[in-house]
Every structure is written in structure tokens, then in C-alpha cells.
Amino acid sequence: MEKIVSRHFGQENSHRLEHYLKDGGYVSARKALTQMTPAAVIEEIKRSNLRGLGGAGFPTGTKWGFIPQGNPKPKYLVINADEGEPGTFKDKYIMEQDPHALLEGIIITCFAINSHKAYVYVRGEYIKSMKILQEAIDEAHSKGYLGKGIFGTNFDIEVVVHPGAGAYICGEETALLSSLEGGKGFPRLKPPFPAVVGLFESPTVINNVETIACVGPIINRGAAWFAQLGSEKNGGNRLFCVSGHVNKPGVYELPNGITLREIIYEHAGGILQARKLKAVIPGGISAPVLTADQLDVKMDFDSLKAIGSMAGSGGIIVMDETTDMVWAALVAARFFALESCGQCSPCREGSGWVYRQIKRIYEGQGRLHDLNNLPGIVNNIGGNTICAFGDAVTMSVGSYVSKFRSEFEAKIKG
């Protein structure tokens, strides 16, 4: 299978411009800026069926099309490189192993939406990523790929690397904007959507690193080529981050239609010490957990949604038969309790409450009514909050309780 986004991964000096230029680097950006109109770029991306790979899976071309060009305010491109979803570590690879692929995508995207400034909001702990990305930006500047009048056109682009401020919620796009503006990372009420009122109250496109890294190859080789790689409504490949009880954890670029079973057993080397698989989180900790009998699901957005989970950020966390699922639920609940931004009452108070209830059960102090109350409490959070974090608490924590209830009961009965 031909690799696209990860084509340079593992190669020596893959992060240098010299290396990137060897196999057609910046050809797409030059093509877009010198031979295409912004509308044609957007149309191409639409036809490629590229979907947002940060987790929501929103069609990328459609998102770009929302930018109102009649608006006199500047337009911004914001790259979401916050990558805070536990189990997810793909954007780090792109920024460290192939930063120019991201930059080329940024150039094309800026051109498509008529933006002259892009911010890359990088998770605060990713110090190495930020350093390598900044070096790549400097290299691109020196070649005239960024800055004033790039590729001999009169189009200007500046790219700013902004270190994240340390909260998981800043990966939520509107919280990211608040944080980028210097405020507390609180998600914003929608509408207005960022495409209309985003960064500094201006029209803004926010895309994930991996999404933007796909843009160059699409422009180079055409929408039809990209679209046919994936499943029906989901073009291209995906980077899957496999962690947990597998023999070969890591980042794998695989087609969207691949099954979970294939990823775990054919690519990630199967379960450690040939033990039995018990549960899998298919798309970062916010995704509802799957059981061993659900491994034949295809890993695209729509198939996972159909069985009540989600593709999310592509973070696959594998748990074998030795895993205490109450403990796993506790870890997830603790994460949500610590990372709720605290803005909406149900999520702020509910996430902590749920965590303490599960903790009590885990520590053997639980009672049956604690377990009976849990689904109700958890359900009162989702759907009742400003952002999707509340939904994640409901779906994620709720799935452990419903799918592994017997383990909870066992803890309570001692």
C-alpha cells in the first residue's frame, strides 16, 4: 500500500527542506498558487472527500467554503496541533518527521481561503515538535515559500507557532481560539461558527495537522485519486495510533476501510504474550469502548458511528484480558474530571461526581445503588453543554458501565 502522509516517516533527515524537495516537495503549492483559482482548490478538496482528521470528520472542502469572502476582516487559518486526546500521537509524528508537508498544506489552504496568516497551536508539551516546525518555517522562508510574494505571485503568508497553554479543552476548536487570543480556554457558544466569527472575531478555518498534510498530495495527484483510496464518503488513508497491550505499538497509515481486527493483528503484531483481547478504545479516550466481538468494524467515521462509537482522533487503545475494566473506567473518568473546563454546570459538577462514584466502587466501598445511579448521572451531562466534552463524558464513561457491568458488580459484591 502506498503511504501518503507518512511517506517520509523514518527516513533520515526527513524533516529538512532538502529532503522534502527530493520527491516533488512544494510542487503542489506552486501549482495551486500559479495555475489554480482559490475556488478550484476548494472544489478539488471537496471532491477528494477529505474529512477532518482531528476527530469530528467534517468534510474539509465544505468547511473552507463557509469562509465569507465578502467580509472585510482578515481571514485566518488555525492549525490544531493540540493533540491532547489520550491515545493519540500522530500529529507529533507529522510535525517532527515531515513538517514541510504541513507547511505546504498550509500554503495551499491559505490561498484557498484567502488568508495571509496561519497559526499553528501546538500542544505545550511538544517542545521538540515546535522546534522542528519553527526550523522548517525558517527554511521555507529562506527559499521564498513563505513570507512576501511567494512563488513570484503577490500572495503573502506568515506562519506563527503558538505553544498551547496546557489544557485538554484547548483542543476543542473554539476553546483553542480563546486560548490563542490570550484568554482562558473556554469553548464558545455556537453560532456564530469560527468560519464567520473566529480568531480575533474574524473568519477562521481550523483544521487538524493530519488533514492539512493531506492537502498537498491531493492537489498534486487529483481529487479522484485521493477519493478512491478510502471508503465511500471518506477519502484517503488515516494515521492510526495503536497503543496498549499490543506487540508493535505505533503510528500506522492504513486505508479508512480497514477493520479494527486487521489493524491490531496484522499491523500492530497482535496482543502481548498472545493473551486474549478484552476491549478496545477505537478513537481516543472520548470514544466509547468496544468489546472483543466488535473487532470486525471498519475504521471509518460512518461505520464506527453506526455501532455507537466513533473514529475520533484515530487513537486505538488496546486492552487485554488482564485489564480491570473498572480501573479503565476510573482512568477515563479521572481524566474527564480533571480536564472539564468548568464552564457548564452539568459537565463541571457531573464529571467530578461520576469520577468519585466510580472511585468508590473501584476501592470496594461502592453500593449497588451507586452503580444503578451512574448511567442516569452520566446521561444528564451529554447534550446539555456548550461543547462536545460533555457528550464525551456520557458516551465514554457510560460505555464501560453498560458493557462491563458485571465487573462493576463484582467489585461491589467484593
Partner: protein, 527 residues
């Protein structure tokens, strides 16, 4: 203009109206914590969620604008369920220390719990402990982080209304706390308002703290006499329990909504300017050598005035009226001194030093009725000229309304005046240094004991209502003058301030067409 149906009732509202506002117009109150009509929408409390036909998820009524044909349900089983659950969440870490909380009785947690909660508690976990309880964050406000439901009304008030930016939300999740920024205090001209808008007992007023349970309070509409802005207020009093707080009747003042004047707000100077209502009052008419009856006091003044009238020597009468008086008081002063005793010198503008002011509500003119006094007492002799005459011995009677002359002109001047003037009358509500120089002190009532009107700096005539009976033997200013007039040739037989206002409106063109009924709660602008 979209048509919308809320709980089966139809209404047409301007585009952009939110569901919570449209519902209010129909008399339907949707519960709210974070929503406040004068603050930007935060949408964080989630108690105002309503069901909208054809929308799968409930929406917050405070943020969602109505659209044509929208069908809203504010009381469907789904809505009630969510409301209950939001209340439950808000109580997860709330201390429920209502018995020792000043907010009890006017707490929205209590109110909505009674309306929508009342379930069996399943909150048996240890509560998150927060650091600051009963913690003074400035001269006026006490913070209790445990009671806080993080609606951020206070944050938005200091960001958008006072623009002083003291408050922030710190930390995340259920460890979030509202607090002032490090090294800051909540110390601005409008700090008291945060206690009003706090829907729970997280921010309480230090001045009111533990003084009275709110359910003992009665409310009377009024206008702040602290400056020429005339912020609309409510005087909150408790006269049934005189053993409380040194027999004080008034427990606190609250701002009263008037979009044209002060919106929901008032300044701290005005808010805490009520202790004089019950403290340091003049209770009885008093001569230099002791108390005197009202009858004798009135006779004494009347005889002096009559003598001057008979001798055609009314030029020896000097009157220092005051812009602290109501339009009605001033009109009676005009009638009595200017019309019945022509020649008498009357003025109200003394050499007062302009007070503190800002670009919001606080005005430098600390009188509530300068605009009214200027119109009613039109021709100004000039206070300086009156005082000059008094010092030179050219006045036989000097009648001072409420002014503390000692504070303004010093003891020496006032001492000289007291020597040179035959009858130096001080008519006022509270004891000051001038009282000891005056030959006769007449106790008048304070604004909270009066019915009448003030005219503010916007030329708005606004009513005040009597919250309390006059303290001791004190009487309304116009009533005293009216009694005095009975002893002279032309009695002013007014029976009520409403009667005076009617006469005033018929006499002074700027007030033409006004009546107490028409002034109502919000007042009217002068012509």
C-alpha cells in the same frame, strides 16, 4: 418580525429576540442563573434549556433567537427532567448552609429547588472543599467559593459594566473558583452590585451581613438622594423588630430597574448612604435652652415673620433652601417666602465643593433635586449675598434648610451670624454642628419618610414614596411651612404632596401635564 409559539401562547417579537426574552413578554419566566438582561450571555448554567419543535436537542433559551414559526415548550417532561438534573449538579458541591447564609430567602437555588427539585438526595459523596469561605474580597463584599455556582455574572459585571476587571474564574472542572485576581481587591464605585446579581450566597454584602433575614423586610420604592443622578432604589426596612440593630428601621437599599436612569445598578456611595435615616436624627423642636413644643416653635417663628411683614421690612428675611428638598417642599417654600413675603431673599445654591464623580452613574452634584430647585426658586438672590447680609446684621430672620453652614463657612462665620441675626432657624433631619449655633432647631423628616418628587440631572421628574413614618416629632418640610403659613395672612392649605404637585404642574410650565399617576414608577422628562 417572527411569530413564535411558547407553551401554546403566540407572540410576535422583533428579529433577534431570544426565547427567554420572548417568554418574558408572555409572562413566562424561564429559570436562569447565568443569564442577566444587562450582561453578555454566557450560556453556562444550562438551567434555561427548552424544547424546540423539530430540534432534537434542547437549546438554551438565553442564547437562542426566535425564528418564524418556532414552537417552544418550556415545561415539557424533557425540559423538567433537564432542569432537575442541572439543579442536582449545582448542589453536588454546594454546602447547603442556608441557615447561616444571608441569601436564604432570595436564593435562586432555593427557589428553583422548591419549584423543580424536591427529589430524594443521591449526593452522598464528600464535597469538593474550596479555599475561601467568609472571605472579604474588598470593603463591601464577602466571598464564599463553596456556595458559588460559577455563573460568572460577577465576572461579566466587572468586565462589562464597571469595567474594572477584578474577577476571574480560576482552575478547572469542579475545582473552578471565582476569585479576585492576585493582588487585587474588589474596590470600585459599583462593587455592591455584585451581591445583587449573585443568584446564590457566594457574594454577600458586608454591610447587610447577619443583620436581618430577608423575609422580614418590606420594600418601598424610592430614589437615591445621594447625587443628581437620581438612581431608582428600593428602601428595604423592618420596623416590626426594633430590638434588631440599634432600633434601625432601614436595613439596606437596593437598586431598582429604570432603563432610562440607572438600569439595574447603583453606586456604593448611594447604596450605603442610608444610616442617616435612623441615626443622629433631630427628634424634637429645640431652642437654645431646651426642648419646645411644635406649637410654641411655630408661633415663635410666625410672630417674627408677622412683625417684619407688618413693618414692611421683609427684606430682613433670608432663606437658604436646599436641593435636597423635594419639588413639593420647594414649591411650598416658594409660595410662602417668595409670594406671601415678597422682599425675602431666597436661594438654595451654597458654596458646596463638587463631590466625587465618574463617567457612569456618580455625579459631582450631590443633591438629588438641583434641577427642580432651579426651576421652582427661579430668581436667585445668591446665597453669598444672603450670608453677607446676615453677617452685617441686615437680617432679622435666617431660615436654613438642612445645610451645615459650619462645614461650609466655618465656626467663626456661623458664630457671627448667630450673634447678628435675631432668629436663626435650622430646619433639618440630622444633627450637625450648625444646630448648636441655631436659635431654633426644627426636626424635618428624611426622604424615606416623604412622599414627593425629585428632578434629576437628566431633567427627569421621579417620585419617592414614604417607607417609614417620620421619626420622633419630625415633620415633612412642606408641612412645617404650611403650618407656619396658617399663622400668617395667607394659609397654604395643602393636605397632601399630591395636591402640591398638582398646583406645581399648573404653575410651572416645565412641569405642565405631569401628575403622580403619569409619573408612575419611571418618571417623566421636564418640558
Amino acid at each position: 418580525m417572527p411569530n413564535v409559539s411558547i407553551d401554546g401562547k403566540q407572540i410576535e417579537v422583533p428579529a433577534g429576540t431570544t426565547i427567554i426574552q420572548a417568554a418574558e413578554k408572555l409572562g413566562i419566566e424561564i429559570p436562569r442563573y447565568c443569564y442577566h438582561p444587562a450582561l453578555p450571555v454566557a450560556g453556562n448554567c444550562r438551567i434555561c434549556m427548552v424544547e424546540i419543535e423539530k430540534q432534537p436537542k434542547l437549546q438554551i433559551a438565553c442564547y437562542t433567537p426566535v425564528s418564524e414559526g418556532m414552537v417552544v415548550k418550556t415545561n415539557s417532561p424533557k425540559v423538567i427532567e433537564v432542569r432537575k438534573s442541572v439543579l442536582e449538579f449545582l448542589l453536588v458541591n454546594h454546602p447547603v448552609d442556608c441557615p447561616v447564609c444571608d441569601q436564604a430567602g432570595e436564593c435562586k437555588l432555593q427557589d428553583y429547588y422548591m419549584e423543580h427539585g424536591q427529589y430524594d438526595s443521591r449526593l452522598d459523596n464528600v464535597k469538593v472543599k474550596k479555599e475561601k469561605k467568609a472571605f472579604p474580597i474588598g470593603p463591601t463584599i464577602m466571598l464564599d467559593q463553596e456556595r458559588c455556582i460559577l455563573c460568572t455574572r460577577c465576572v461579566r459585571f466587572t468586565d462589562n459594566i464597571s469595567k474594572t476587571h477584578e474577577f476571574g474564574v480560576f482552575d478547572r472542572g469542579d475545582h473552578s473558583q471565582v476569585d479576585v485576581y492576585p493582588g487585587k481587591q474588589l474596590d470600585n464605585n459599583y462593587s455592591g452590585n455584585v451581591a445583587d446579581i449573585c443568584p446564590v450566597g457566594a457574594l454577600t454584602d458586608r454591610d447587610f451581613r447577619f443583620k436581618c433575614r430577608v423575609w422580614y423586610l418590606s420594600q418601598t420604592k424610592s430614589v437615591c438622594p445621594g447625587c443628581s443622578m437620581g438612581c431608582n432604589t428600593t428602601v428595604e426596612w423592618d420596623k416590626m423588630r426594633p430590638h434588631q440593630f440599634k432600633k434601625a428601621r432601614v436595613m439596606r437599599l437596593k437598586p431598582r430597574l429604570n432603563e432610562e436612569v440607572n438600569s439595574f445598578w447603583m453606586c456604593d456611595k448611594g447604596r450605603y448612604n442610608y444610616h442617616f435615616i435612623d441615626e443622629n436624627r433631630i427628634h424634637h423642636p429645640q431652642l437654645k435652652d431646651g426642648l419646645v413644643s411644635w406649637e410654641k416653635a411655630i408661633d415663635m417663628v410666625a410672630e417674627n415673620l408677622k412683625a417684619l411683614q407688618a413693618a414692611k421690612h421683609t427684606g430682613a428675611i433670608g432663606v437658604l433652601a436646599s436641593a435636597q428638598l423635594t419639588n413639593e417642599d420647594l414649591f411650598v417654600i416658594r409660595k410662602f417666602f417668595k409670594e406671601n413675603l415678597p422682599g425675602a431673599s431666597v436661594d438654595f445654591k451654597l458654596a458646596e465643593v463638587p463631590g466625587e464623580s465618574d463617567d457612569f452613574l456618580m455625579k459631582a452634584d450631590k443633591n438629588p433635586n438641583t434641577a427642580g430647585a432651579s426651576l421652582i426658586l427661579e430668581s436667585n438672590t445668591g446665597a453669598a449675598a444672603i450670608l453677607q447680609k446676615a453677617k452685617q446684621g441686615d437680617l432679622d430672620v435666617l431660615y436654613v434648610f438642612g445645610h451645615d453652614l459650619v462645614k461650609l463657612y466655618g465656626k467663626e462665620t456661623v458664630g457671627l451670624i448667630a450673634q447678628k441675626v435675631k432668629l436663626f432657624i435650622y430646619q433639618g433631619s440630622n444633627i450637625n454642628e450648625t444646630c448648636s449655633y441655631a436659635h431654633l432647631n426644627l426636626p424635618s423628616s428624611v426622604y424615606a419618610e416623604k412622599e414627593g418628587t425629585f428632578t434629576n440631572c437628566q431633567q427627569r421628574v421621579q417620585r419617592i414614596w414614604p417607607a417609614l413614618a417620620p421619626l420622633g416629632e419630625s415633620k415633612g418640610d412642606w408641612e412645617i411651612i404650611s403650618q407656619l403659613s396658617n399663622k400668617l395672612d395667607a394659609p397654604l392649605a395643602y393636605k397632601s404632596s399630591q395636591e402640591i404637585f398638582k398646583d406645581l404642574a399648573a404653575t410651572i410650565p416645565a412641569f405642565a401635564g405631569m401628575s403622580y399617576e403619569k409619573l408612575s414608577d419611571k418618571g417623566m422628562l421636564l418640558k
